[in-house]
Amino acid sequence: MRVKGADVDDGYLVQRAQEGYLDAFAELVERHGPLAYRVALRLLGSHHDAEDVAQEALVAAWQQLPGFKADSAFSTWLYQIVTRRALNRITRARPTAASLDQLGDVAGTDNQTAATAERDLTISAVTSAVTALPPPQRIAIVLHHFEGLSNAEIAVITGSSIAAVRSHLFRGRRTLSEKLAEWR
């Protein structure tokens, strides 16, 4: 059961969860679980990998909660955990060809409308282009252009400088644009 939690902020939930109230953490998962999955999906390009990483990250968040200091937002901290876990998976994995798994919930091809087919092609092309970027550029692109975070927020999450984030974004945007121009 969800708590009537819309009334309380993340800080309150974090404190209760740190005291061992599992339900408070459940409410945090309700609020921020989608973020963990979404970022993992954009970074890794595969639903299967994203499920694993989101699960690992949310469980790790519970385990590491006693050490979490409220000097940053819970979401910022979770972004940090997810990107680190995703990065581990990227560096462990060997490069593979783009798979159909990247397409999302695709309807059967027989009754696909032209619009659906176009949408799926777009998802596939952008996902392939994003997941082909080197990890630092990929993380910067996903956090800025998909999650709408500022360069300063990304610097905190990735533990780098704002100048470095800006440089990763410049390079990532360049590579993505060139790839997408070829695709169009």
Partner: protein, 215 residues
Amino acid sequence: MTGDDQPIRDVRVLLSGARGRLACGMDADELLEQAADGYAGQLTGHQQECPHCQAALQEFSRVWEPVRRLASEPVAIPAAVKAAVFGQLRDLVSDVWYTLQVTDDGAIRIAARVVAAIARRAAQKVPGVGVAFGRSTRSKAAGLAEQSTLGHRHQHSAVGVLGRTAVVDLALAVRYGENLDLIARQVQQRVIADLRACTGLQDIAVNVTVDDILP
């Protein structure tokens, strides 16, 4: 072939031009950033007069459009992921069990987190309570009972608390203007009544902490 006076519309040429600059001297990467961030329509004074910048912004926006579309696609976390997370958390949380009965037919136990969940629901029914979180812990007496029965305990109650004594901690956020003392007492009574009715536990202590006020 494109002369300096002719705006370039090919992204690869735009980005690979001399030091990444347009014929007007503007930095192609900065224009790409402007377009990708969705500000291609907000032209600076120079851009309002410059066909090179306008053509580049238009082209960068067109190329970046699929990224914007993918970014706006809603992504829901699969229910299986949440279920798996909570399954793992339940395994991680060292659980306490209230053992109601141990006979040759078997044991009847209730997990402390179930006791906590019942307590939370009961507390939330009390008017004035905004949010309640429940946590159930071992009572001192139950802890001692557990210690003393370590050697001759029913094999399946290895991690349990023998007996019918429960201690429930409740953290409450209460609406502003309510009588906190009255609400806390009502919560204690309601929780004790519901737990007795639902679980058969008789000796119940309910510690109430009002730790936030809601508007």
